[in-house]
């Protein structure tokens, strides 16, 4: 997949949204193993309840990985320079996330033509869970 050309991109352009299926326990179990984050709060309901949560909940990094998919489906990963997020809410079982991104700035960064993107994810009820920025170098 080729990267979008810098000259054809305008501030305000939106990336195609990435829609995810509702979070389920299987997804969390697989992500725990694959990511190396074995915090039981994400995979063991007893541990989650002991820490005051009603049930297991998604790893923040699962949501960030989905935002990574949003970015790499728009431009090849080799063009990604920075990727920074803030986790603003807990993603619960049953939450179906929508990942969105928008070009907010065109700039030169360390000799490369780049775009800065604002990215975010929210669930089907419009509750924000992650927001952040990414820097992508474009040809």
């Amino acid at each position: 997949m080729p990267a979008p050309a810098f000259d054809t991109i305008e501030v305000g352009d939106r990336l195609p949204d990435l829609l995810l299926p509702p979070v389920d326990r299987t997804t969390l179990a697989l992500f725990a193993g694959a990511s190396g984050d074995h915090n039981p709060a994400h995979i063991d309901i007893d541990a989650a309840r002991a820490s005051g949560m009603p049930d297991v909940f998604a790893h923040g990094m699962l949501g960030m990985a989905w935002l990574g998919r949003l970015l790499t489906s728009w431009a090849p990963q080799s063009r990604l320079r920075r990727f920074d997020v803030r986790f603003s809410g807990i993603t619960h079982l049953g939450n179906a996330m929508r990942c969105s991104g928008q070009v907010v700035e065109k700039l030169e960064h360390e000799g490369e033509r780049c775009v800065r993107l604002e990215i975010s994810s929210m669930n089907q009820y419009g509750q924000p869970k992650i927001d952040g920025v990414a820097l992508v170098a474009l040809p």
């Binding site: 995810l20 992500f31 694959a34 790499t72 080799s78 990727f83 803030r86």
Partner: protein
């Protein structure tokens, strides 16, 4: 309260071999279907030496080391009280299957809000490969709910 003496200190480092099988498992776990993340031929055709590690995978290298959770435990903080607050990556060189990466982590800052009800532990990590080249920098903020 977390002792601020830790600010600036190295808290550990670890080495992880980036394995194809692990990358394929990670791609499956996040629903990634782009073949460059699971098919070596597709990855090579796209210009990578082997399967690339997806953008957030290097956090797994840090988690595998146990450095963060071990440090949190050493501080006497139960894992049940921590949340991931922020995470950042700076990419310098692509990391692909077959690479051997070393993650070195340091405490960048410790502070609290709401009279200590929330404490923040900021860490920064440098990732180098088998050639000693810095390939990425990570930063993360852990929130402790007191």
């Amino acid at each position: 309260m977390i002792d601020k003496k830790w600010i600036g200190q190295e808290v550990g480092h670890s080495t992880l071999i980036i394995e194809r099988g692990r990358l394929k498992f990670f791609a499956k776990a996040i629903g990634e279907t782009d073949p460059i993340y699971s098919d070596e031929a597709a990855a090579r055709a796209a210009g990578y030496a082997d399967l690339p590690a997806p953008p957030t995978f290097l956090f797994a290298a840090e988690m595998d080391s146990g450095v963060l959770f071990t440090f949190i435990d050493r501080l006497g903080i139960p894992l049940s009280k921590v949340l991931h607050g922020e995470q950042g990556f700076e990419y310098l060189v692509p990391v692909v299957a077959g690479d051997i990466v070393t993650v070195s982590s340091r405490v960048k800052d410790i502070y609290d809000k709401r009279n200590g009800a929330l404490e923040f532990l900021e860490m920064e990590s440098t990732v180098t490969n088998q050639d000693g080249v810095t390939v990425a920098k990570l930063r993360n903020t852990t929130v402790v709910r007191n």
